[in-house]
Amino acid sequence: MSEPVAEMPESLQPVAKAVQERYPQANVAFRTDGWLEVHIPVDQSPEFFRYLKEHPGLSFDYLSSITAVDYQEKGFQVVYHLVSMGIDAKGNRQLVVKIDVPRDNPRVPSVVEVWPTADFHEREAFDLMGIVFDGHPNLRRILLREDWVGHPLRKDYVDRRPPRPRVVR
Protein backbone atom coordinates (compact mmCIF):
# COMPACT_ATOMS: atom_id res chain seq x y z
CA MET A 1 0.00 0.00 0.00
CA SER A 2 1.15 3.50 -0.69
CA GLU A 3 2.32 5.29 2.38
CA PRO A 4 -0.02 8.04 3.52
CA VAL A 5 1.82 11.33 3.39
CA ALA A 6 1.27 14.42 5.44
CA GLU A 7 0.68 17.06 2.83
CA MET A 8 -2.60 16.59 1.04
CA PRO A 9 -3.42 18.81 -1.91
CA GLU A 10 -5.76 21.63 -1.10
CA SER A 11 -8.45 20.41 -3.40
CA LEU A 12 -8.73 17.16 -1.49
CA GLN A 13 -8.63 18.52 2.04
CA PRO A 14 -12.29 19.56 2.23
CA VAL A 15 -13.25 16.19 0.84
CA ALA A 16 -11.34 14.35 3.48
CA LYS A 17 -12.78 16.62 6.13
CA ALA A 18 -16.36 16.27 4.97
CA VAL A 19 -16.14 12.53 4.70
CA GLN A 20 -14.46 12.20 8.08
CA GLU A 21 -17.05 14.37 9.80
CA ARG A 22 -20.05 12.67 8.35
CA TYR A 23 -18.67 9.12 8.56
CA PRO A 24 -16.35 8.92 11.56
CA GLN A 25 -15.83 5.18 11.11
CA ALA A 26 -14.55 5.69 7.55
CA ASN A 27 -10.81 5.33 7.19
CA VAL A 28 -9.49 8.21 5.10
CA ALA A 29 -5.95 8.33 3.80
CA PHE A 30 -4.12 10.24 1.12
CA ARG A 31 -2.09 8.30 -1.37
CA THR A 32 1.09 9.49 -3.03
CA ASP A 33 -0.34 8.94 -6.47
CA GLY A 34 -2.93 11.66 -5.98
CA TRP A 35 -5.90 9.58 -4.93
CA LEU A 36 -7.77 9.89 -1.68
CA GLU A 37 -8.43 6.48 -0.28
CA VAL A 38 -11.46 5.76 1.87
CA HIS A 39 -12.32 2.49 3.55
CA ILE A 40 -15.91 2.16 4.60
CA PRO A 41 -17.91 -0.67 6.13
CA VAL A 42 -20.27 -2.40 3.77
CA ASP A 43 -23.49 -1.38 5.52
CA GLN A 44 -22.97 2.30 4.71
CA SER A 45 -22.49 1.75 1.04
CA PRO A 46 -25.38 3.26 -0.89
CA GLU A 47 -25.90 6.27 1.40
CA PHE A 48 -22.21 7.01 1.49
CA PHE A 49 -21.99 7.04 -2.30
CA ARG A 50 -25.09 9.13 -2.66
CA TYR A 51 -23.56 11.58 -0.20
CA LEU A 52 -20.36 11.66 -2.24
CA LYS A 53 -22.25 12.35 -5.40
CA GLU A 54 -24.87 14.75 -4.18
CA HIS A 55 -23.18 16.76 -1.46
CA PRO A 56 -22.40 20.07 -3.19
CA GLY A 57 -18.87 20.32 -1.81
CA LEU A 58 -17.96 16.85 -3.02
CA SER A 59 -19.95 16.00 -6.14
CA PHE A 60 -18.08 12.95 -7.27
CA ASP A 61 -20.23 12.62 -10.34
CA TYR A 62 -18.06 10.36 -12.43
CA LEU A 63 -17.61 6.70 -11.68
CA SER A 64 -14.52 5.46 -13.42
CA SER A 65 -14.61 1.83 -12.49
CA ILE A 66 -15.84 -0.76 -10.07
CA THR A 67 -13.77 -3.81 -9.57
CA ALA A 68 -13.10 -6.41 -6.97
CA VAL A 69 -10.00 -8.10 -5.64
CA ASP A 70 -9.85 -11.50 -4.03
CA TYR A 71 -7.61 -11.27 -0.95
CA GLN A 72 -8.23 -14.92 -0.16
CA GLU A 73 -8.58 -15.39 3.61
CA LYS A 74 -9.01 -11.62 4.10
CA GLY A 75 -12.09 -11.70 1.95
CA PHE A 76 -12.98 -9.70 -1.10
CA GLN A 77 -12.40 -6.03 -1.56
CA VAL A 78 -14.70 -4.06 -3.83
CA VAL A 79 -12.93 -1.00 -5.21
CA TYR A 80 -14.67 2.08 -6.59
CA HIS A 81 -12.78 4.76 -8.46
CA LEU A 82 -14.55 8.10 -8.42
CA VAL A 83 -13.71 11.38 -10.06
CA SER A 84 -15.34 14.73 -9.63
CA MET A 85 -15.80 16.55 -12.87
CA GLY A 86 -18.63 18.91 -12.08
CA ILE A 87 -17.11 21.52 -9.81
CA ASP A 88 -13.92 22.24 -11.62
CA ALA A 89 -13.59 21.33 -15.23
CA LYS A 90 -10.12 20.05 -14.53
CA GLY A 91 -11.60 17.21 -12.56
CA ASN A 92 -8.59 16.76 -10.37
CA ARG A 93 -10.26 15.14 -7.41
CA GLN A 94 -9.85 11.45 -7.39
CA LEU A 95 -11.24 9.20 -4.76
CA VAL A 96 -10.91 5.50 -4.33
CA VAL A 97 -13.40 3.80 -2.05
CA LYS A 98 -12.74 0.32 -0.78
CA ILE A 99 -15.24 -1.96 0.86
CA ASP A 100 -14.21 -5.21 2.44
CA VAL A 101 -16.69 -8.02 2.21
CA PRO A 102 -16.44 -11.47 3.76
CA ARG A 103 -15.63 -14.35 1.50
CA ASP A 104 -18.57 -16.51 2.47
CA ASN A 105 -21.14 -13.82 1.83
CA PRO A 106 -19.88 -11.38 -0.79
CA ARG A 107 -22.78 -8.96 -0.96
CA VAL A 108 -22.55 -5.23 -1.60
CA PRO A 109 -25.37 -2.80 -2.22
CA SER A 110 -25.60 -1.75 -5.82
CA VAL A 111 -24.82 1.83 -6.81
CA VAL A 112 -26.68 1.74 -10.11
CA GLU A 113 -29.17 4.18 -8.63
CA VAL A 114 -26.38 6.65 -7.99
CA TRP A 115 -24.39 6.22 -11.19
CA PRO A 116 -26.13 4.44 -14.04
CA THR A 117 -22.76 3.52 -15.46
CA ALA A 118 -22.27 1.11 -12.57
CA ASP A 119 -24.55 -1.31 -14.40
CA PHE A 120 -21.97 -3.03 -16.57
CA HIS A 121 -19.17 -2.67 -14.03
CA GLU A 122 -21.20 -4.47 -11.39
CA ARG A 123 -22.30 -7.12 -13.80
CA GLU A 124 -18.70 -7.71 -14.73
CA ALA A 125 -17.60 -7.94 -11.10
CA PHE A 126 -20.45 -10.35 -10.47
CA ASP A 127 -19.59 -12.40 -13.49
CA LEU A 128 -15.87 -12.73 -12.94
CA MET A 129 -15.57 -12.40 -9.17
CA GLY A 130 -18.95 -13.46 -7.86
CA ILE A 131 -19.73 -10.31 -5.90
CA VAL A 132 -23.50 -10.00 -5.51
CA PHE A 133 -24.71 -6.45 -5.88
CA ASP A 134 -28.00 -6.13 -4.00
CA GLY A 135 -30.53 -4.01 -5.78
CA HIS A 136 -28.96 -4.30 -9.20
CA PRO A 137 -31.82 -4.39 -11.71
CA ASN A 138 -30.30 -6.91 -14.03
CA LEU A 139 -27.54 -8.89 -12.39
CA ARG A 140 -26.69 -11.45 -15.05
CA ARG A 141 -23.42 -12.74 -16.36
CA ILE A 142 -22.08 -10.37 -18.95
CA LEU A 143 -18.83 -11.66 -20.38
CA LEU A 144 -19.19 -15.37 -19.77
CA ARG A 145 -21.89 -17.71 -20.92
CA GLU A 146 -25.06 -17.81 -18.87
CA ASP A 147 -24.45 -21.43 -17.84
CA TRP A 148 -20.86 -20.92 -16.76
CA VAL A 149 -19.93 -22.48 -13.43
CA GLY A 150 -17.86 -20.47 -10.98
CA HIS A 151 -16.22 -17.07 -11.10
CA PRO A 152 -12.86 -17.19 -12.86
CA LEU A 153 -11.10 -14.31 -11.13
CA ARG A 154 -11.41 -15.89 -7.71
CA LYS A 155 -8.12 -17.26 -6.58
CA ASP A 156 -9.59 -20.66 -5.78
CA TYR A 157 -11.31 -21.01 -9.12
CA VAL A 158 -10.96 -24.33 -10.85
CA ASP A 159 -12.17 -24.80 -14.35
CA ARG A 160 -15.09 -27.13 -13.99
CA ARG A 161 -15.70 -27.59 -17.64
CA PRO A 162 -15.80 -31.25 -18.53
CA PRO A 163 -12.66 -32.34 -20.34
CA ARG A 164 -13.12 -32.38 -24.06
CA PRO A 165 -13.75 -35.86 -25.43
CA ARG A 166 -10.75 -37.14 -27.25
CA VAL A 167 -11.47 -37.71 -30.91
CA VAL A 168 -9.62 -40.63 -32.41
CA ARG A 169 -9.51 -40.66 -36.13
Partner: protein, 379 residues
Amino acid sequence: MAETAVTGTPPQETAKPAVHELFVNMGPQHPSTHGVLRVMLKVDGERILDADADVGYLHRCFEKIAERRSVTMVIPYTDRTDYLAAITSEWAYVMAAEKLLGVEVPERAEYIRVIVGELQRIASHLIWFGAFALDLGATTAFLYAWREREYLLDIFQKLTGARMLYNYLRVGGVRNDLYDGFADDVHRFLKQLEEKLREYHDLLTGNRIFETRTKGIGVITAEQAIAWGASGPVLRGSGVPHDLRKAHPYSVYDRFEFGIPVGEDGDVYSRYVVRMQEFYESMRIVRQALRDIPGGPWQGDVPRRMKLNGDVYTRIESPRGEVGVYLVGDGSDTPYRCHYRSPCFVHLQLLGPMGVGHLVADMVAIIGSIDIVMGEVDR
Protein backbone atom coordinates in the same frame (compact mmCIF):
# COMPACT_ATOMS: atom_id res chain seq x y z
CA MET B 1 -42.65 3.99 -42.25
CA ALA B 2 -43.00 0.33 -42.94
CA GLU B 3 -44.76 -1.45 -40.16
CA THR B 4 -44.24 -5.08 -39.65
CA ALA B 5 -46.75 -7.23 -37.88
CA VAL B 6 -44.59 -10.24 -37.26
CA THR B 7 -43.57 -11.01 -33.72
CA GLY B 8 -42.07 -13.94 -31.96
CA THR B 9 -44.64 -13.67 -29.22
CA PRO B 10 -48.39 -13.54 -29.60
CA PRO B 11 -49.67 -9.96 -29.85
CA GLN B 12 -50.90 -8.56 -26.59
CA GLU B 13 -54.26 -6.92 -26.17
CA THR B 14 -53.72 -3.33 -25.22
CA ALA B 15 -55.82 -0.25 -25.29
CA LYS B 16 -52.96 1.76 -26.76
CA PRO B 17 -52.48 2.04 -30.50
CA ALA B 18 -51.11 -1.22 -31.68
CA VAL B 19 -47.36 -1.44 -31.46
CA HIS B 20 -46.11 -4.38 -33.42
CA GLU B 21 -43.01 -5.24 -31.56
CA LEU B 22 -40.36 -7.22 -33.33
CA PHE B 23 -37.28 -8.58 -31.65
CA VAL B 24 -34.22 -8.42 -33.86
CA ASN B 25 -30.74 -9.63 -33.10
CA MET B 26 -28.32 -7.16 -34.55
CA GLY B 27 -25.23 -9.29 -34.58
CA PRO B 28 -23.15 -11.10 -33.51
CA GLN B 29 -22.82 -11.61 -37.24
CA HIS B 30 -23.76 -8.27 -38.66
CA PRO B 31 -21.59 -6.25 -41.02
CA SER B 32 -21.56 -3.07 -38.99
CA THR B 33 -21.21 -4.17 -35.40
CA HIS B 34 -17.42 -3.91 -35.67
CA GLY B 35 -16.71 -7.43 -34.62
CA VAL B 36 -18.93 -9.65 -32.60
CA LEU B 37 -21.21 -7.31 -30.76
CA ARG B 38 -24.77 -8.42 -30.36
CA VAL B 39 -27.33 -5.70 -29.94
CA MET B 40 -30.73 -6.95 -28.93
CA LEU B 41 -33.18 -4.62 -30.58
CA LYS B 42 -36.87 -4.35 -30.02
CA VAL B 43 -38.27 -2.54 -33.00
CA ASP B 44 -41.63 -1.36 -34.18
CA GLY B 45 -41.22 -1.34 -37.90
CA GLU B 46 -37.79 0.17 -38.00
CA ARG B 47 -38.16 2.37 -34.95
CA ILE B 48 -36.16 1.18 -32.00
CA LEU B 49 -38.10 0.65 -28.80
CA ASP B 50 -35.30 -0.85 -26.79
CA ALA B 51 -31.65 -1.60 -27.36
CA ASP B 52 -29.44 -3.72 -25.19
CA ALA B 53 -25.88 -4.74 -25.85
CA ASP B 54 -24.78 -8.31 -25.31
CA VAL B 55 -21.03 -8.68 -25.16
CA GLY B 56 -18.52 -11.35 -24.31
CA TYR B 57 -18.07 -13.17 -27.59
CA LEU B 58 -14.37 -12.34 -27.62
CA HIS B 59 -13.81 -12.79 -23.92
CA ARG B 60 -10.65 -14.61 -22.94
CA CYS B 61 -10.21 -13.27 -19.44
CA PHE B 62 -7.01 -11.37 -19.97
CA GLU B 63 -7.21 -10.36 -16.32
CA LYS B 64 -6.89 -13.96 -15.21
CA ILE B 65 -4.11 -14.62 -17.69
CA ALA B 66 -2.23 -11.62 -16.27
CA GLU B 67 -2.19 -13.23 -12.84
CA ARG B 68 -0.08 -16.05 -14.21
CA ARG B 69 2.43 -13.92 -16.11
CA SER B 70 5.35 -11.82 -14.96
CA VAL B 71 5.02 -8.06 -15.21
CA THR B 72 6.66 -7.79 -18.62
CA MET B 73 4.93 -10.81 -20.04
CA VAL B 74 1.55 -9.15 -19.60
CA ILE B 75 2.35 -6.35 -22.07
CA PRO B 76 1.58 -8.36 -25.24
CA TYR B 77 -1.81 -9.22 -23.79
CA THR B 78 -2.64 -5.58 -23.25
CA ASP B 79 -1.88 -5.07 -26.95
CA ARG B 80 -4.64 -7.45 -27.79
CA THR B 81 -7.33 -5.68 -25.83
CA ASP B 82 -7.58 -2.54 -27.93
CA TYR B 83 -5.94 -3.85 -31.03
CA LEU B 84 -6.46 -0.67 -33.01
CA ALA B 85 -4.63 1.47 -30.48
CA ALA B 86 -2.29 -1.02 -28.89
CA ILE B 87 0.17 1.58 -27.67
CA THR B 88 -2.29 3.32 -25.39
CA SER B 89 -3.44 0.15 -23.70
CA GLU B 90 0.16 -0.88 -23.21
CA TRP B 91 0.87 2.54 -21.83
CA ALA B 92 -1.84 2.38 -19.19
CA TYR B 93 -0.57 -0.95 -17.96
CA VAL B 94 3.09 0.01 -18.07
CA MET B 95 2.37 3.21 -16.19
CA ALA B 96 0.62 1.27 -13.47
CA ALA B 97 3.53 -1.12 -13.15
CA GLU B 98 5.98 1.77 -13.04
CA LYS B 99 4.06 3.44 -10.25
CA LEU B 100 4.01 0.24 -8.19
CA LEU B 101 7.71 -0.35 -8.74
CA GLY B 102 8.68 3.28 -8.34
CA VAL B 103 10.60 3.22 -11.61
CA GLU B 104 11.73 6.45 -13.16
CA VAL B 105 11.16 6.74 -16.90
CA PRO B 106 13.84 8.65 -18.80
CA GLU B 107 12.68 11.78 -20.53
CA ARG B 108 13.47 10.55 -23.99
CA ALA B 109 11.33 7.48 -23.41
CA GLU B 110 8.44 9.66 -22.32
CA TYR B 111 8.73 11.71 -25.48
CA ILE B 112 8.88 8.58 -27.61
CA ARG B 113 5.78 7.33 -25.85
CA VAL B 114 3.95 10.54 -26.52
CA ILE B 115 4.93 10.46 -30.18
CA VAL B 116 3.90 6.87 -30.80
CA GLY B 117 0.83 7.33 -28.62
CA GLU B 118 -0.39 10.26 -30.67
CA LEU B 119 0.48 8.56 -33.95
CA GLN B 120 -1.52 5.65 -32.66
CA ARG B 121 -4.42 7.96 -32.00
CA ILE B 122 -4.20 9.14 -35.60
CA ALA B 123 -4.11 5.57 -36.86
CA SER B 124 -7.07 4.62 -34.71
CA HIS B 125 -9.08 7.64 -35.77
CA LEU B 126 -8.31 6.87 -39.40
CA ILE B 127 -9.86 3.45 -38.99
CA TRP B 128 -12.77 5.00 -37.17
CA PHE B 129 -13.30 7.48 -39.98
CA GLY B 130 -13.30 4.76 -42.58
CA ALA B 131 -15.50 2.38 -40.68
CA PHE B 132 -17.93 5.12 -39.71
CA ALA B 133 -18.29 6.24 -43.30
CA LEU B 134 -18.73 2.64 -44.34
CA ASP B 135 -21.49 2.23 -41.80
CA LEU B 136 -23.25 5.14 -43.39
CA GLY B 137 -22.84 3.56 -46.80
CA ALA B 138 -19.99 5.69 -48.10
CA THR B 139 -17.69 2.91 -49.20
CA THR B 140 -15.03 5.04 -50.78
CA ALA B 141 -14.06 7.01 -47.68
CA PHE B 142 -13.21 3.72 -46.02
CA LEU B 143 -10.53 2.91 -48.55
CA TYR B 144 -9.18 6.43 -48.49
CA ALA B 145 -8.65 6.23 -44.74
CA TRP B 146 -7.14 2.81 -45.09
CA ARG B 147 -4.56 4.14 -47.52
CA GLU B 148 -3.28 6.78 -45.09
CA ARG B 149 -3.25 4.32 -42.24
CA GLU B 150 -1.09 2.03 -44.33
CA TYR B 151 1.62 4.70 -44.54
CA LEU B 152 1.45 5.12 -40.80
CA LEU B 153 1.65 1.39 -40.19
CA ASP B 154 4.76 1.31 -42.35
CA ILE B 155 6.36 3.77 -39.95
CA PHE B 156 5.28 1.67 -37.01
CA GLN B 157 6.63 -1.42 -38.67
CA LYS B 158 9.99 0.22 -39.20
CA LEU B 159 10.04 1.35 -35.58
CA THR B 160 8.71 -1.69 -33.76
CA GLY B 161 8.74 -4.51 -36.25
CA ALA B 162 4.98 -4.99 -35.98
CA ARG B 163 2.08 -3.37 -37.71
CA MET B 164 -0.72 -3.55 -35.19
CA LEU B 165 0.30 -5.32 -31.99
CA TYR B 166 3.55 -3.66 -31.17
CA ASN B 167 4.67 -4.86 -27.75
CA TYR B 168 6.80 -1.74 -27.81
CA LEU B 169 6.54 -0.13 -24.39
CA ARG B 170 8.49 -1.58 -21.55
CA VAL B 171 8.36 -1.02 -17.83
CA GLY B 172 10.68 1.93 -17.43
CA GLY B 173 10.90 2.95 -21.05
CA VAL B 174 10.48 1.64 -24.56
CA ARG B 175 11.96 -1.40 -26.24
CA ASN B 176 14.18 0.37 -28.74
CA ASP B 177 15.15 3.86 -29.73
CA LEU B 178 13.73 5.70 -32.72
CA TYR B 179 15.44 4.72 -35.94
CA ASP B 180 17.43 7.22 -37.98
CA GLY B 181 15.13 9.23 -40.16
CA PHE B 182 12.07 8.56 -38.03
CA ALA B 183 11.37 12.26 -37.70
CA ASP B 184 11.55 12.75 -41.46
CA ASP B 185 9.20 9.88 -42.05
CA VAL B 186 6.72 11.22 -39.55
CA HIS B 187 6.92 14.77 -40.86
CA ARG B 188 6.35 13.52 -44.39
CA PHE B 189 3.38 11.49 -43.23
CA LEU B 190 1.85 14.38 -41.30
CA LYS B 191 2.17 16.69 -44.27
CA GLN B 192 0.49 14.14 -46.45
CA LEU B 193 -2.22 13.53 -43.89
CA GLU B 194 -2.99 17.22 -43.71
CA GLU B 195 -3.70 17.24 -47.44
CA LYS B 196 -5.71 14.07 -47.30
CA LEU B 197 -7.79 15.29 -44.36
CA ARG B 198 -9.01 18.05 -46.63
CA GLU B 199 -10.08 15.33 -49.01
CA TYR B 200 -11.98 13.56 -46.23
CA HIS B 201 -13.77 16.75 -45.35
CA ASP B 202 -14.71 17.23 -49.00
CA LEU B 203 -16.07 13.74 -49.12
CA LEU B 204 -18.19 13.73 -45.98
CA THR B 205 -18.30 16.96 -43.99
CA GLY B 206 -20.98 19.18 -45.38
CA ASN B 207 -22.55 16.46 -47.47
CA ARG B 208 -26.30 16.85 -47.04
CA ILE B 209 -27.02 13.15 -46.79
CA PHE B 210 -24.25 12.76 -44.24
CA GLU B 211 -25.46 15.68 -42.15
CA THR B 212 -29.07 14.58 -42.08
CA ARG B 213 -27.95 11.13 -41.08
CA THR B 214 -25.78 12.31 -38.21
CA LYS B 215 -27.21 15.54 -36.82
CA GLY B 216 -29.64 15.07 -33.96
CA ILE B 217 -29.01 11.33 -33.87
CA GLY B 218 -28.01 9.54 -30.67
CA VAL B 219 -28.04 12.64 -28.51
CA ILE B 220 -26.75 12.45 -24.95
CA THR B 221 -26.49 15.51 -22.78
CA ALA B 222 -23.42 16.40 -20.78
CA GLU B 223 -25.10 15.26 -17.53
CA GLN B 224 -26.08 11.97 -19.08
CA ALA B 225 -22.62 11.45 -20.50
CA ILE B 226 -21.01 11.97 -17.09
CA ALA B 227 -23.57 9.84 -15.29
CA TRP B 228 -23.12 7.01 -17.78
CA GLY B 229 -19.36 7.18 -17.44
CA ALA B 230 -18.68 8.26 -20.98
CA SER B 231 -15.17 9.37 -21.78
CA GLY B 232 -13.05 10.44 -24.68
CA PRO B 233 -14.70 11.81 -27.80
CA VAL B 234 -18.14 10.66 -26.62
CA LEU B 235 -17.87 12.80 -23.51
CA ARG B 236 -16.31 15.71 -25.36
CA GLY B 237 -18.90 15.43 -28.09
CA SER B 238 -21.47 16.24 -25.41
CA GLY B 239 -19.66 19.44 -24.57
CA VAL B 240 -17.61 18.42 -21.53
CA PRO B 241 -14.05 19.63 -22.02
CA HIS B 242 -12.52 16.71 -20.20
CA ASP B 243 -9.34 15.19 -21.48
CA LEU B 244 -7.08 13.22 -19.19
CA ARG B 245 -4.07 14.60 -21.03
CA LYS B 246 -5.07 18.00 -19.67
CA ALA B 247 -6.99 17.13 -16.51
CA HIS B 248 -4.37 14.76 -15.13
CA PRO B 249 -1.34 15.27 -17.33
CA TYR B 250 0.50 11.98 -17.31
CA SER B 251 3.87 11.46 -18.91
CA VAL B 252 5.05 14.76 -20.40
CA TYR B 253 1.74 15.96 -21.77
CA ASP B 254 1.89 19.10 -19.63
CA ARG B 255 4.72 20.37 -21.82
CA PHE B 256 2.74 20.53 -25.04
CA GLU B 257 0.29 23.00 -26.36
CA PHE B 258 -2.87 21.48 -27.69
CA GLY B 259 -6.55 22.12 -27.52
CA ILE B 260 -9.45 19.95 -26.48
CA PRO B 261 -11.99 19.83 -29.29
CA VAL B 262 -15.47 19.92 -27.85
CA GLY B 263 -18.74 19.20 -29.57
CA GLU B 264 -21.95 21.08 -29.02
CA ASP B 265 -24.94 18.85 -29.37
CA GLY B 266 -23.82 15.49 -28.10
CA ASP B 267 -25.05 13.82 -31.25
CA VAL B 268 -23.31 11.61 -33.75
CA TYR B 269 -22.21 14.62 -35.74
CA SER B 270 -20.56 16.27 -32.72
CA ARG B 271 -18.57 13.13 -32.06
CA TYR B 272 -17.56 13.12 -35.70
CA VAL B 273 -16.41 16.73 -35.48
CA VAL B 274 -14.49 16.11 -32.28
CA ARG B 275 -12.60 13.18 -33.73
CA MET B 276 -11.87 14.99 -36.95
CA GLN B 277 -10.39 17.88 -34.98
CA GLU B 278 -8.39 15.54 -32.78
CA PHE B 279 -6.42 14.60 -35.87
CA TYR B 280 -5.07 18.12 -35.95
CA GLU B 281 -4.41 18.28 -32.23
CA SER B 282 -2.53 14.99 -32.32
CA MET B 283 -0.50 16.29 -35.23
CA ARG B 284 0.37 19.37 -33.22
CA ILE B 285 1.52 17.28 -30.29
CA VAL B 286 3.63 15.00 -32.47
CA ARG B 287 5.31 17.97 -34.14
CA GLN B 288 6.11 19.59 -30.80
CA ALA B 289 7.40 16.35 -29.39
CA LEU B 290 9.61 15.72 -32.39
CA ARG B 291 10.99 19.23 -32.02
CA ASP B 292 11.70 18.99 -28.30
CA ILE B 293 12.74 15.39 -27.94
CA PRO B 294 15.88 15.19 -25.81
CA GLY B 295 18.68 12.69 -26.18
CA GLY B 296 19.67 10.15 -23.62
CA PRO B 297 18.62 6.67 -22.73
CA TRP B 298 15.27 5.28 -23.80
CA GLN B 299 15.11 2.71 -21.07
CA GLY B 300 15.36 3.49 -17.38
CA ASP B 301 16.82 1.40 -14.62
CA VAL B 302 14.47 -1.28 -13.50
CA PRO B 303 15.02 -3.81 -10.76
CA ARG B 304 16.13 -7.12 -12.09
CA ARG B 305 13.33 -8.85 -10.28
CA MET B 306 10.26 -6.65 -10.33
CA LYS B 307 8.37 -7.03 -7.09
CA LEU B 308 4.96 -5.45 -7.21
CA ASN B 309 3.63 -4.09 -3.96
CA GLY B 310 0.43 -2.29 -3.17
CA ASP B 311 -2.25 -1.16 -5.58
CA VAL B 312 -2.54 1.60 -8.10
CA TYR B 313 -5.05 2.86 -10.62
CA THR B 314 -3.82 4.65 -13.73
CA ARG B 315 -5.97 6.34 -16.30
CA ILE B 316 -4.96 7.16 -19.84
CA GLU B 317 -6.68 9.01 -22.62
CA SER B 318 -6.87 6.44 -25.38
CA PRO B 319 -8.37 7.26 -28.78
CA ARG B 320 -11.61 5.78 -27.54
CA GLY B 321 -11.69 7.29 -24.09
CA GLU B 322 -10.47 6.58 -20.64
CA VAL B 323 -8.47 3.41 -20.27
CA GLY B 324 -7.85 2.51 -16.66
CA VAL B 325 -5.65 -0.18 -15.22
CA TYR B 326 -6.02 -1.24 -11.61
CA LEU B 327 -2.95 -3.17 -10.65
CA VAL B 328 -2.49 -4.94 -7.33
CA GLY B 329 0.74 -6.57 -6.30
CA ASP B 330 1.44 -8.98 -3.47
CA GLY B 331 5.23 -8.80 -3.42
CA SER B 332 5.81 -11.27 -6.22
CA ASP B 333 6.71 -10.42 -9.79
CA THR B 334 3.30 -11.31 -11.15
CA PRO B 335 0.33 -8.96 -10.82
CA TYR B 336 -1.93 -10.16 -8.05
CA ARG B 337 -4.88 -8.59 -9.75
CA CYS B 338 -4.99 -6.59 -12.96
CA HIS B 339 -8.22 -4.91 -13.87
CA TYR B 340 -8.62 -3.21 -17.20
CA ARG B 341 -11.24 -0.49 -17.45
CA SER B 342 -12.28 -0.29 -21.05
CA PRO B 343 -13.99 2.82 -22.39
CA CYS B 344 -15.93 0.95 -25.06
CA PHE B 345 -17.34 -1.46 -22.50
CA VAL B 346 -18.77 1.49 -20.64
CA HIS B 347 -19.94 3.24 -23.80
CA LEU B 348 -21.94 0.25 -24.89
CA GLN B 349 -24.37 0.94 -22.05
CA LEU B 350 -25.23 4.13 -23.88
CA LEU B 351 -26.71 2.28 -26.85
CA GLY B 352 -30.06 2.20 -25.10
CA PRO B 353 -30.24 5.90 -24.09
CA MET B 354 -28.84 6.96 -27.46
CA GLY B 355 -30.75 4.70 -29.75
CA VAL B 356 -34.31 4.52 -28.45
CA GLY B 357 -36.70 6.32 -30.75
CA HIS B 358 -34.38 6.27 -33.71
CA LEU B 359 -34.30 3.92 -36.66
CA VAL B 360 -32.23 0.81 -37.17
CA ALA B 361 -30.08 2.73 -39.63
CA ASP B 362 -29.33 5.25 -36.88
CA MET B 363 -28.24 2.50 -34.55
CA VAL B 364 -25.57 1.68 -37.08
CA ALA B 365 -24.46 5.31 -37.10
CA ILE B 366 -24.46 5.40 -33.29
CA ILE B 367 -22.36 2.27 -32.97
CA GLY B 368 -19.98 3.76 -35.49
CA SER B 369 -19.83 7.04 -33.63
CA ILE B 370 -18.77 5.54 -30.31
CA ASP B 371 -16.00 3.71 -32.12
CA ILE B 372 -16.06 0.37 -30.39
CA VAL B 373 -13.37 -2.24 -30.52
CA MET B 374 -14.74 -5.53 -29.37
CA GLY B 375 -11.37 -6.85 -28.28
CA GLU B 376 -11.34 -4.13 -25.69
CA VAL B 377 -14.94 -4.59 -24.64
CA ASP B 378 -14.62 -8.29 -24.05
CA ARG B 379 -10.95 -8.36 -23.07
